[in-house]
Amino acid sequence: MIDTLIHILALTAPVAMIFASLFAFTTWLERKILARIQNRIGPNYINIPFTKFRKTFGLLQPAADGFKMLVKEDIVPHGADRFLHLLAPILALVPAMMVLCLLPFDLPFANESMKRIHAAALDNAVLLFFGITSINTLAVFMAGWASRNKYSLLGGMRAVAQMVSYEIPLVLSAAVVIMAVGSLSAQKIVAAQSTHWFIFTPWGLAAFFIFFIASLAETNRSPFDLPEAESEIIAGYFTEYSGFKFALFFLGEYLSIFAINGLAVTLFFGGGNGPWVQAHPWLSCVWFLAKIFGLIFIIIWLRGTVPRLRVDQLMAFAWKFLMPLSILNLFVAAVALKVQQPWLTWPLCALVLYAAAHGLSRLQQKNVGPRTYQYAE
């Protein structure tokens, strides 16, 4: 029994550690890429202490930032609910770490018994993934509410509304893949994509786009970063957080990004599948990470180029565009999977989905106009 616990720990701890360290790298990557997009240079000037080695390309910037965070004063507002204020960042981090462990991330050193455990525990991994990520929403609300700050609360409410709304297209688009594979198990989903990835089917492509957009909103990334919009509600729910608690939020957010992109890779990009994996199994881990970083690059790119949405646009997009489209996609995929005639169904599916997306976007555009204020007049 203790063995099992140790096995579990041995499986999950490295995963958490790997991603936590990648977090640092990712922040550096994001700042660099953003800087290049905005025609700046970005962090480039942190030297290794006590050495004269200066050419680090700013790689040590995250370390410096992290250090700064750790030594900063932890401020709790006077009227805040101290317990929940403390609980919120933890609750934000823990689910993110938990869901990371649900990914089909084959550690190179894992032996057969470990894998067996892994597989058994994750019979309905995808479902659990969604269940656990939904806890994140609570953390956000808790942070916003416990801070006793109007901006925080507004940010928290916005975040909750947004996450709840986008969870539906997220789940529905994932359901397409689940339907195709017939299992909720991450491993089986990856195995099913050994020949071709789901992204290379019309419904898979559509599902991926929906999933990707919804995942941006789920993780409060630009252009859906309204809950933490600096210019509107001064960083939203973590306005009142500083120091280590803030760092936890930050970490939790990036881990969520890893996790949800990891799920995207699992569902649509064949997980760790890739060239030479058959010959060298350890490569699957590399492929997995590479795919995640490919997606993360796109996310950063989007952040650098796309402006932030308005609240009403955000909600309308989720309910009036993504949701109908994902439901339609579910139908289309069902038909396509049933008929089993790719030469016939694929063009038709592509056509239907394209027409639907086009029509829905036209409908959306029809309503673009001056915003009507319901309570602000």
């Binding site: 609910d81 929940l84 309905n124 479902l127 969604f130 269940g131 806890i135 609300f141 709840v164």
Partner: protein
């Protein structure tokens, strides 16, 4: 051994969560306590090898119901969530009495009358459910899906209809009246 420990821990958490949920004056705290209760119950479901139900429990109760409750609190009470109102002593007395009496009526027969507790424990329930890896449990999700889609397909559809109706009904009920005669918005 470990499962007994787990059971008692989870039971304690569940009871504690439930008690807090019904007794806290602060509604938001109450909601979080309730969520704790849900989580504990989800753990109990896992222990009972109903891991799909557990996942659904997490998804639905923690992910959706909790959020809904929080939203409602935000839309009705003060955002601080403090609720200072209670019944008087008499209400307490009767309420407590009944709240004790009803479970007592349910439990007492089991305790007093040994014959009624004849349901034999099932042997499979040995060991940690998460590690008891046999065919039935591995296929729980699939089996559930099959049953739902074959035997219970009509109730499932009715359920879908019910959910849709509830969705529309909730929106219709909660939607603010458009504009009243005076041309002003009714404050929501």
């Amino acid at each position: 051994m470990i499962e007994q420990v787990a059971f008692y821990i989870l039971s304690a958490v569940a009871v504690l969560g439930a008690l807090l949920a019904v007794s806290r004056r602060n509604l938001v705290h109450g909601v979080f306590a309730l969520l704790l209760f849900f989580a504990a119950l989800s753990g109990l479901f896992v222990m009972l090898l109903a891991d799909y139900v557990a996942a659904v429990q997490v998804l639905v109760y923690i992910g959706a119901v909790g959020i809904l409750l929080l939203f409602t609190i935000m839309l009705t009470e003060h955002v601080t969530g403090d609720d200072l109102r209670r019944l008087g002593v008499r209400g307490w007395f009767w309420g407590l009495l009944l709240a004790v009496a009803v479970p007592a009526v349910l439990i007492l027969p089991a305790v007093l009358n040994e014959k009624s507790a004849k349901a034999a424990p099932i042997v499979v329930a040995q060991g940690n459910p998460a590690l008891a890896n046999n065919a039935t449990q591995a296929n729980t999700v699939k089996a559930l899906g099959k049953v739902l889609m074959e035997k219970y397909v009509v109730p499932l559809e009715v359920l879908a209809l019910l959910l849709t109706a509830a969705l529309i009904g909730a929106v219709a009920v909660a939607h603010a009246p458009e504009k009243d005669a005076s041309g002003k918005d009714t404050p929501a």
